[in-house]
């Protein structure tokens, strides 16, 4: 049956698009009615992680630069939002100013943190970026003295919710007899941001800049010898990825109303990287799927605790332990059976392609022997 639906839609891109749009618009109502409001909140977080994963995908998937400190840019976007729109400094700037500023600040830091790593590759790059990510978090943790910039580990509170005109996203909105809770409003805002970022990422990939990133990923020396300024192109990748991260950070701060350094640990960086790897590096649908799965599954696993209580009377296995276990098993299984990701990009598929790869390797070995 689903096959028949897909077949019917294949020749009608407009209809498919309209259906998808309708589905996305109706999604919070469906989920809210079926699973409850807390799941709409999960849905909001799914979109935030999609934003983050799409940003990191530019750095890791497009340009091939392994970045383990990506969450730092999320933190910068979030903190800038909190500085400019909370009682902390008494500033309450509007969202249309704060979000772009947060994205821009993160972009600038993307360049600043990228610049010292230009000569590094692979594992070394990963280690240094990991360090940068931690540095930002530790700064946020400790900048409550001598001057209270971040309020330290207590975090920053009472951050302004997004408001458009007189409508505040922090309160439910009554429209035409319908009550839209705050989580629904944020869903539509995040959806808009996600669609924007998907559009930007798609256009970047298929452009002069995107080709330069791909060339850089494939062979840095050849890329330089073809006239690509590898320094600028790398910094551009860091900046673009960081900008998306900063945007997501600002949205996160507004949505939560509270941020603390705890939200920006190394684990978060690794989680976002896992989303990309699991879904399919360099491929936008894959990255989205990865982000959805790795956000939804841990939430769903919470029910395992209730299930145990209901059937066994007490909790035998802590769901959060189970979460890590399943996570590990899933990643190992993936590396064995789908090393290129669930929905691999055209290029990754080739790289990891089983039969093709072997034949290609044999061929190139042969030529090496001849040359």
């Amino acid at each position: 049956m689903p096959d028949r639906v897909f077949a019917a839609l294949r020749g009608r891109p407009r209809l498919a698009l309209a259906l998808l749009a309708a589905l996305l618009l109706a999604l919070p109502f469906v989920i809210g009615a079926g699973l409850g409001n807390s799941w709409v909140r999960v849905l909001d977080f799914v979109l935030l992680y999609v934003l983050l994963a799409l940003g990191l995908n530019i750095v890791v998937g497009y340009a091939g630069l392994l970045d383990l400190g990506y969450i730092a840019f999320y933190a910068l976007g979030a903190y800038l939002y909190a500085w400019l729109a909370s009682p902390h400094f008494g500033l309450h700037l509007p969202i249309w100013m704060v979000l772009p500023l947060g994205a821009a600040l993160a972009g600038v830091f993307g360049v600043l943190l990228g610049a010292p790593t230009l000569r590094l590759r692979g594992d070394y790059l990963a280690i240094v970026t990991l360090g940068f990510g931690e540095i930002i978090r530790i700064f946020m943790n400790n900048l409550n003295a001598p001057f209270n910039l971040t309020n330290g580990p207590q975090g920053m509170n009472l951050i302004d919710p997004v408001s458009v005109g007189s409508v505040s996203f922090g309160k439910p909105l009554e429209v035409a007899g319908l009550t839209l809770p705050s989580t629904y409003l944020y869903y539509y805002l995040f959806l808009a941001a996600t669609l924007l970022v998907i559009g930007v990422a798609m256009r970047l990939q298929d452009s002069r800049v995107g080709r330069a990133w791909a060339a850089l990923r494939e062979d840095e020396i050849a890329a330089a010898a073809m006239g690509i300024n590898t320094r600028n192109v790398k910094l551009l990748a860091f900046a673009m990825g960081a900008t998306f991260g900063g945007l997501a950070g600002g949205l996160f701060a507004a949505f939560q109303g509270f941020i603390s350094p705890e939200s920006f640990t190394l684990w978060e960086s690794i989680l976002v990287l896992c989303m990309i790897v699991l879904g399919g590096m360099g491929n936008i649908p894959g990255v989205i799927l990865g982000a959805v799965l790795l956000t939804v599954i841990p939430e769903a696993l919470r029910y395992i605790g209730d299930l145990q209580r209901a059937t066994l009377g007490h909790v035998v296995v802590d769901p959060s332990d189970l979460r890590m276990l399943l996570f590990g098993v899933a990643l190992v299984a993936m590396m064995l059976y789908r090393p290129a990701g669930l929905i691999p990009s055209r290029q990754r598929k080739r790289e990891f392609g089983a039969e093709d790869g072997v034949a290609e390797q044999e061929q190139s070995d042969l030529y090496d022997a001849r040359a």
Partner: protein
């Protein structure tokens, strides 16, 4: 004939080893210049110095009288000096067409804003890049192979593709590092024709090659490197019969 490239007293040391020892040579506009020598003579090192991959220890490299040593590889390309690699360095997981399109990078401008907004100018530029890349594939004899993955092309085709990609940067001087290595006689003949076609199309060629027959038939002038020193330079026939060159290739007493 004006001199296009001048290598003046270039020395390149790796620790104590002088891979190039005061090499001096000049390439004239419109000629095919051969660079030969036994393995390890420093030919590829000289290429790397000329194209900005290595910095020189001493000496100068001038393109049309302007120094290019000390420039980054992409700056050298921008000045009209492109190269290929001995051990083919294609973007293996990109298509043949995409490889050549990357070569257009330095002759096009669209940045992030252009890519995201996709304004009329960017679209026109993209179309021009694509057309030029197709024409170049056609030119080197890879018509209809644009959609194939670079890594899946036959060896000879990969060499051609590397040349097409280098040509996409619009070089006036093209340095080819062993472009016919590992090819069969038919493929070599085709490459010989391609090189002549390139020269007639106003691209000066600088060629590292082991195939002496090809070099002698094709090159206007030849320089011979041995242990980092230039031991001979001149018309192909004269160099071929030079006793110093013969002893370098066949072994024997150092002169």
């Amino acid at each position: 004939m004006a001199e296009l490239l001048r290598v003046a007293g270039v020395t390149k040391r790796f620790g104590g080893l002088a891979a190039l020892d005061e090499v001096t040579l000049g390439v004239n506009e419109g000629e095919i210049y051969g660079l030969i020598g036994p393995n390890g003579a420093g030919k590829t090192t000289l290429f790397n110095c000329m194209t900005g991959l290595y910095s020189v220890t001493a000496g100068q490299i001038l393109l049309r009288g302007t120094p290019i040593h000390g420039l980054k590889p992409h700056q050298v390309v921008k000045r009209g000096f492109a190269r290929t690699f001995q051990n083919i360095r294609l973007f293996a997981n990109m298509t043949a067409l995409e490889n050549v399109m990357v070569g257009r990078h330095t002759r096009s401008r669209a940045g992030v804003l252009g890519a995201v907004l996709r304004c009329a100018r960017t679209r026109a530029e993209e179309a021009a890049i694509r057309d030029k890349a197709r024409a170049l594939l056609d030119y080197v004899g890879l018509k209809n192979k644009g959609r194939a993955l670079a890594g899946h092309l036959s060896y000879g085709d990969q060499r051609r593709l590397e040349i097409a990609r280098a040509l996409a940067t619009e070089p006036t001087l093209l340095a080819l590092d062993e472009p016919v290595a590992g090819m069969n006689p038919t493929e070599r003949r085709q490459m010989d024709e391609l090189f002549r076609k390139l020269r007639d199309g106003q691209v000066t060629l600088l060629l590292i090659e082991h195939d002496v027959k090809l070099v002698m038939g094709l090159c206007d002038r030849v320089a011979v490197l041995d242990y980092g020193r230039k031991i001979a330079e001149g018309a192909a026939d004269a160099v071929k019969n030079d006793p110093v060159v013969i002893s370098a290739y066949l072994g024997g007493e150092a002169p």
